[in-house]
Amino acid sequence: MILATLVPLQATALAVVALGAPAVVLSRDPLRMIVVNGLYGLALVLLFVVYGAPDVALSMLVVSTVAYPLVVLIAVTRVRGGKR
């Protein structure tokens, strides 16, 4: 019963991750890449949750949606000379 709902969920999560990774690599604009990478991180979070790894999912969630985008965003701003 649980397996019947879990397998499609896992397949969906895997598909989203498989589509998300090239999307990150193919984004050329750094700002867009930060957003796409955050969404890709959320897809990974979903993947970890449906595979039963909530602790890893939490670590991924806090790192991929807050810590990493913030540091990259400010670094990009700095490199562009403080222009918004």
């Binding site: 595979y51 602790d55 999912a57 939490l58 670590s59 806090v62 540091v71 400010i74 403080g82």
Partner: protein, 246 residues
């Protein structure tokens, strides 16, 4: 190098890499068929022995707490490096910069969000050994709550928490407290970081022995380290803004 030469080098390398990757993946054990004794041993032993219901947290902060101590100091060292490179010598007046969020809606929901995120962070640190979570996740969540404060209100509001007078002692305390928990076991005549407190009642905050203390130490260290990192980077952004406004 011409585009053609580059492609000529790239394509065989890509094929080789893909073949190696495929080979490695095919050799992986099937999902759920973990090979190795430690996972099974810990899975069976952790809850009866330490009364922690989250075996992952018991592994990272108790059985392999020494590894986590090393990781904590990697973060500590990395943040110290960033501070050495970026921290400005003279005290600027960047806290006077006026960048209050314009929209009332952003401010109201932002402040609600800050309390929610900080609460989740505290819960993750406090209950890490009972339910999924732990010092690291909770620490980063706490730091993101403070970042949300900057986004929803202003740099001045952020500066109340995000300044070195507040953060440096908290980071040092967190890193030090972890070592102190380890040394306490040495003083009691046991190996470093051995869990020396009683196991308590499973499924409650009153369990895990030393685990809550280690989680809180790591949580404070990680939260402060992240905030120091953000504040150094944010200064890089805000100082020119302040200069333009002046």
């Amino acid at each position: 190098m011409s585009r053609r030469t580059r492609t000529a080098i790239f394509l065989p390398a890509l094929a080789g890499f893909a073949a190696l990757l495929l080979w490695a993946y095919v050799g992986l054990p099937d999902f759920g068929h973990y090979k190795g004794p430690y996972g099974f041993v810990l899975d069976r032993v952790a809850t009866p022995e330490r009364h922690t219901t989250n075996v992952v947290n018991a592994t990272t902060y108790d059985y392999r707490g020494f590894d986590t101590l090393g990781e904590e100091f990697i973060l500590f060292g990395a943040v110290t490096g960033v501070v050495l490179l970026l921290r400005a010598g003279g005290g600027g007046r960047e806290e006077d910069v006026d960048d209050t969020a314009g929209s009332d809606l952003v401010r109201v929901f932002g402040v609600l969000g800050v309390s929610a995120v900080v609460l989740v962070g505290l819960w993750l640190v406090a209950f890490g050994f009972v339910t999924p979570g732990g010092g690291f996740q909770g620490g980063v969540a706490l730091a993101s709550g403070v970042v949300l404060l900057y986004l929803a209100s202003s740099y001045r509001a952020w500066f109340g928490v995000g300044n070195q007078t507040v953060l440096d002692p908290v980071e040092g305390f967190g890193a030090g407290a972890y070592v102190v928990v380890g040394l306490a076991a040495l003083v009691a005549g046991m190996p470093f970081l051995k869990n020396l407190l009683g196991p308590g009642i499973p499924g409650t905050l009153w369990s895990g022995g030393s685990a809550p203390f280690v989680n809180w130490a790591a949580g404070l260290e990680v939260a402060a380290a992240n905030l120091i990192l953000y504040s150094e980077f944010l200064q890089e952004y805000v100082v020119p803004l302040a200069r333009r406004q002046a």
